[in-house]
Symmetry: C3
Subunit: 263 residues, 3 copies
């Protein structure tokens, strides 16, 4: 765990380029901003190469899934590879909708992803493990989460983050687990999308160690959410969303170290 | 009024599928989440049937009104009918823009809606009653709101919710009115869109009684807004929006019963 | 500076039509609503003329930059001209992406803009002045901001607002500067987009004096943000965003006069 990456991120203010889920796009941009990076969003394929050129990392959210967006995702993924920019994918709802799984699988044959971040149902789908997914939620199942994450990482040859009560981060061999967090993340649509783009921001300052970047981003995000939740007397998803932005901006490495729980 | 539907909704956590207004999509997803259902959003027509299959109700917001979206709305409405899923329509701005009224009218000939939720100007347009509408607002007029709502319900053969200071809910014969609410709803863009999708969530657990579902959803939403407004000393639309999410999650049947005003 | 325009705006409640940045669209709609105008948003070119007809001002945000949106922007700009509605442009990221600059430049040859609102990097690009821009941020540079704004105003024959720590407003000859504000605006994505649409709302009640409208809108917005920031003990971007909506609704001319700093 390299928490000093948070300070580096804030000093270098990397530009994170996003094709973003239309549902959560403003939240994601604000989250990137709050943590200390600089968001840029695009909907137009003609500006892809220029956008990639000025960016330090790319996050592609497969919740943006109309056909023009899929073409855009393909081009941006390939451009990120060609320009050696770290590439993070959030495979929204591939566990619930077979059409999404098929398109996502096709896409990932055409570029090399560095980090995939999804919930258990999504990661299981990418690993071809049976799993019950329901809507955007994680679903439930009996498989061991670490094994699912490892299988997906081996299959896709990248770092995998399986988000949940415990975040599992693996490169297929090494495994880290982050135990911080709060159930309020699940009550706020866009928490996962925001984490995916924050992972990209950490990759931008990681000097190529995406396993380290991924676990640090998970710890920072989960611990920040927990700090906010600890200040609330009740489960207040609206207040949580606003204060999560506050705390992403204010949280320090020392604050996180005090409550960090990982192995 | 069947307030126990709120508890049923929270126990069964129905999936509500939305084609959503691009202006308010995150708010709508968060509102569905907060009340206790599970949102899923789509922009791609190829995944329509699969999405409908995993959903318990469908909400189509005509604020999403580009031509590809209209084609998507048509297909999703027909798929909802074919799969016997309750179908709610929010006819955004059909009272102000004749192009929207024409497209909406055409759409509703091609599938059968279960509930329409709109403001006075929108419902009047669908009932072919003269009414002055201005922008997204309700406009003002002299016609009796109950008669307008009834006329629209008879014409479209469905339940109609005419939202406003008083919500009028009718199946064309029976009429319910909800008197709770707060002017802050009008100051927050997306309140109406959110209500429409929450109506769909209640329809999902209503065992086919959409008149009951519609009025209960209106009471829950209006009373929740009123509870939030009562805690604010001034008209604070931004704070209201955040706390509305909080209270949709926290509000109980007993809280609502204490202030419920309907007939 | 004509602060009485704020009261006029609230009395007449002008409809502001927007082609809006997909990233910030709900925030912009809520901001227009909060200040006392009435927002209407569109994504469909077929409804352009009808939408312009019911509007009192038009704001086109070039963050909406897919090809269908650019066609829509062109048509709406031309319709605004033909119908003598004030036209405000926000040239998002034209300083960072040459493709955007080229498309924006082409667009502005095909309709006449009344006000352009951008950051230093964006305005410099439109004035053909060298400037370093990074992502959506302003970048930094040595040129004198007033000269850049003047050059852009002369080139585009319109009023230019160069937003930043100090807002520079010019018609190419006369110059006003607004010194109010807060760094929190930069931490909240969408502050600039919101200001652009609020400028359009002030133009709607300005009786054609767009230089006056532009500087008054800047003062109202900057001072409102400053009032909110003064109540916060720390830099809280999420809380700031919610309370900015509150204060846009609550702020009075007298409140603004107390802290106004301009020349």
């Amino acid at each position: 765990m390299k928490l000093e990456l948070l300070d580096q991120l804030r000093q270098t203010n990397p530009v994170v380029l996003n094709i973003s889920n239309f549902v959560t796009v403003q939240d994601v941009a604000n989250g990137i901003n709050a943590i200390g990076a600089s968001p840029i969003m695009s909907e137009e394929i003609a500006e892809t190469d220029e956008m990639v050129a000025i960016s330090s990392a790319v996050a592609l959210n497969l919740g943006a899934f109309s056909k023009p967006q899929v073409a855009h995702i393909l081009k941006m993924g390939q451009s990120a590879n060609a320009n050696h920019k770290p590439l993070v994918i959030d495979p929204v709802a591939v566990g619930a909708i077979s059409y999404r799984k098929q398109v996502a699988t096709d896409l990932m044959k055409q570029f090399q992803v560095d980090v995939i971040r999804g919930n258990a149902g999504e990661i299981a789908a990418l690993a071809d493990v049976e799993w019950q997914a329901k809507g955007i939620d994680a679903g439930s199942g009996d498989q061991d989460l670490v094994e699912i994450a490892k299988a997906a990482a081996v299959k896709q040859q990248c770092v995998v983050i399986l988000s949940g009560e415990t975040d599992v981060i693996t490169d297929g061999q090494k495994v880290a687990r982050v135990h911080n967090g709060t159930p309020l993340f699940q009550l706020h649509v866009g928490s996962g999308d925001m984490l995916s783009s924050i992972v990209a921001a950490f990759c931008a300052v990681s000097d190529g160690d995406y396993f380290e970047a991924a676990q640090t981003a998970c710890l920072v995000f989960a611990a920040t959410g927990e700090l906010v939740a600890n200040q609330l007397k009740e489960e207040r998803p609206g207040t949580f969303a606003a204060q999560l932005m506050d705390e992403l901006h204010l949280v320090s490495v020392a604050d996180i170290e005090k409550i960090a729980q990982f192995d």
